[in-house]
């Protein structure tokens, strides 16, 4: 072993605290995005618009009436007229399950996965600081929410432009807007979809602080997602349904009205913020007092 000196670091002891948060946050994001599991999830998400696009193209390829007869996921019938609708259709198809599942996997693994592999103890004695680490974990999960949504949207836009004609967009309310404005609405919708995942990310992070097994945390989070989605289907439970995190998810379609119907959108974002606050606090309370025994 060489006797090379490890330091020049004495002066670094007084490193500026502006980098206090960012260094770990950047490390978190790159670590999440470099996992094969994350890349596989993003690959699946990117494949959904491709499959939908090809299916619609094959069905309408013989010049028959456009995109089925009004059944199936929202916006499907408009895709063959305007490729931009593939973006809306793909987001509508992935938001109920694929997207939140991917977020649940990443959020559930955030703390529990590190605990399971033992790397958590080294991060904490580095010392990452428990609050700082949890914030970095949540922030990087939110970055993943946005990344996953954008992967779906960009993949859908690419496939839509390649396979279908594009042009003016006819909104749900019947109004026509230009393609450029339609594109802006697509960007806004992607933002709302990503924000819709904030709640499930907070739930996943909280579950992640409860166990030392990443797999268990992921499974629990995805299980909670499915449970919430099922409960949201029973009319008898209408009293609790407005408090279920997926309840207003598909309200993003209201951005395709003229004028935009804001109320469900606001309710959705408010509910997501509530979930982030409640489960974020619970995760913080749990994680900052937890004995790290693995």
């Amino acid at each position: 072993m060489s006797r090379a000196e490890v330091a020049d670091g004495r002066g670094a002891r007084t490193a500026p605290s502006a980098l206090w948060q960012l260094s770990l946050f950047r490390s978190e994001v790159t670590t999440v995005l470099r996992r094969w599991r994350t890349l596989a999830l993003l690959g699946v998400l990117a494949a959904v618009p491709v499959l939908v696009g090809i299916a619609v193209k094959m069905e309408t390829g013989d010049g028959g009436p456009s995109g089925g007869d009004g059944h199936g996921p929202a916006f499907i019938s408009q895709i063959s007229n305007n490729g931009l609708f593939l973006v809306f259709a793909s987001l509508a198809a992935t938001l109920p399950f694929f997207l939140p599942m991917a977020v649940g996997v990443v959020a559930g693994d955030a703390v529990a996965g590190e605990a399971g592999s033992g790397t958590l103890r080294y991060l904490l004695v580095a010392p990452a600081g428990r609050t700082r680490l949890l914030l970095a974990k949540y922030a990087s999960t939110l970055v993943f929410c946005l990344t996953a949504t954008l992967v779906v949207a960009v993949s859908a836009l690419t496939v839509g432009l390649l396979l279908f004609p594009v042009g003016d967009v006819t909104l749900i309310s019947g109004t026509q807007i230009s393609f450029g404005e339609g594109l802006l609405r697509a960007v806004a919708i992607a933002g709302v979809v990503a924000a819709s995942l904030v709640g499930v990310a907070a739930v996943g992070l909280f579950v992640s602080t409860l166990t030392n097994s990443g797999i268990a945390a992921m499974a629990t989070t995805v299980g909670l997602l499915i449970t919430a989605q099922i409960l949201d289907q029973f009319p008898q439970l209408h009293a609790v349904q407005p408090y279920l995190f997926p309840h207003y998810w598909l309200s993003f379609a209201d951005l395709l009205r003229e004028p935009v119907y804001w109320e469900p959108l606001q309710r959705n974002l408010g509910l997501q913020a509530l979930y982030a606050a409640v489960f974020g606090s619970a995760a913080w309370a749990r994680f900052t007092t937890k004995d790290i025994t693995v």
Partner: protein, 399 residues
């Protein structure tokens, strides 16, 4: 067992109290002069531990005033790097893992932390590092309370806790970059250089680009050590640092520990390999069932177990008879020799020439009785003997 023997008829026997060549080699690179006392010296004059607590009874029994004696005991008290008072951890379910621990690790020491599996060592280390909240009692590390002052203390502490933990999908270098990024005091501008230096220091420079999951256990262990060396540290906490290493790797780790100690870093080392502790440590503490059995310098601990006389000879029966006549007790006759317990006074050797039994006389008596002596000497009491005496033969996992 470290043995020190001389050939039969080879003139004077080395006094048990004088440092042997072997000891000089071992201790020569030790960081702290305070413990000039060798590991196996039966006559170590050690009445008090460095912390001022009474040493185990056995340690003080044959204390003999000697000029080279234990400056640590007389030197002004140095600030403790780790100090716990009544540190206790009771897990949910009532299991008492650590029970009223009063541990003092002097600055500049290489401190060996011993105990059977399940004795509470790791729980103690985790409490010191702020990973586990104590149920009661206090722990001070580098003079500040843990876990409260963790953000100020931990950047100055490097730790290897219960083996390395790595991100298998990242390269060795990227693993270190990640751990360094977690330290808010680490300067991102020097990160690459410090990571490279740490990799170089543990001999991993060539494998730095390899994915950590392809590392062998020994390489992972080295990478874990490198993570502890990313910054200059005042304290290194190494839990089983040579676990999984080949003998060459173990030697390198020992050398590294000595180098670090020589630079003034205090090293807190837990290990099952008593040999290893004895070779590198200046101080040691022994835990069993959550309690601290003893702490002090390694010399003091080893001297609490006494050495035995060992004679190698083709005439064991005659030798045993002669030895018995000279007051040697507890004789064990083997095919190739005899071992026995020396009467207490003999241990002081030439330092006590007026004593009734000199080892040289004993050797001469054997030769006069026509016993052909191949070797003759004191089998030194090792730390292992002391450890077994303290914790019992059965190295059982505590329930």
């Amino acid at each position: 067992m470290e043995e020190e023997r001389i050939a039969s008829g080879g003139g004077r026997m080395k006094a048990p109290g004088a440092p042997s060549a072997r000891q000089t080699a071992v201790r020569g690179s030790a960081p702290e002069p305070p413990t000039a006392v060798g590991p196996g010296e039966p006559a170590a004059p050690a009445a008090r531990t460095a912390s001022g607590a009474p040493a185990p009874a056995g340690a003080a029994v044959h204390a003999e005033p000697e000029p080279s004696a234990e400056p640590a005991a007389t030197a002004p008290a140095v600030a403790a790097v780790i100090e716990t008072r009544g540190l206790t951890k009771r897990y949910r379910g009532g299991q008492l893992a650590v029970d009223g621990l009063d541990l003092t690790v002097p600055r500049g020491s290489v401190f060996g932390f011993l105990g059977p599996n399940g004795s509470g060592k790791t729980t103690t280390i985790r409490m010191l590092m702020g990973l586990i909240e104590p149920s009661s009692g206090t722990a001070h590390v580098l003079g500040e309370p843990m876990p409260r002052a963790g953000r100020r203390v931990l950047p100055r502490v490097g730790a290897l806790i219960e083996g390395p933990a790595l991100y298998g999908f990242l390269s060795g270098r990227d693993n270190l970059v990640r751990y360094d990024a977690a330290d808010p005091t680490a300067d991102p501008r020097t990160r690459a250089a410090r990571v490279a230096a740490a990799l170089d220091r543990v001999g991993l420079a060539a494998a730095a680009g390899k994915k950590a999951r392809a590392y062998s256990l020994g390489m992972k262990q080295r990478l874990g050590l490198a993570a502890a060396l990313l910054q200059p540290r005042e304290l290194l906490v190494l839990d089983e640092p040579t676990n999984g290493l080949d003998p060459q790797g173990m030697r390198e780790i020992r050398t590294l520990v000595r180098e670090l100690a020589a630079d003034g870093t205090t090293v807190f080392l837990s290990s099952h390999l008593l040999d290893e502790i004895e070779q590198v440590c200046t101080h040691a503490a022994v835990m069993a069932q959550g309690r601290l059995l003893t702490q002090g310098t390694v010399g003091e601990l080893a001297s609490s177990a006494r050495g035995r006389l060992a004679v190698t000879t083709p005439d064991p029966t005659d030798a045993a008879r002669v030895l018995k006549e000279h007051g040697v007790t507890d004789l064990v006759v083997l095919e190739t020799g005899v071992t026995g317990e020396l009467p207490h006074t003999a241990l002081s050797g030439p330092a006590d020439p007026a004593g009734p039994l000199d080892l040289a006389d004993l050797n001469a008596a054997l030769v006069r009785a026509d016993v052909r002596v191949r070797s003759f000497g004191i089998e030194r009491a090792s730390l292992e003997d002391a450890f077994v005496a303290l914790t019992g033969e059965g190295f059982d996992v505590a329930g």
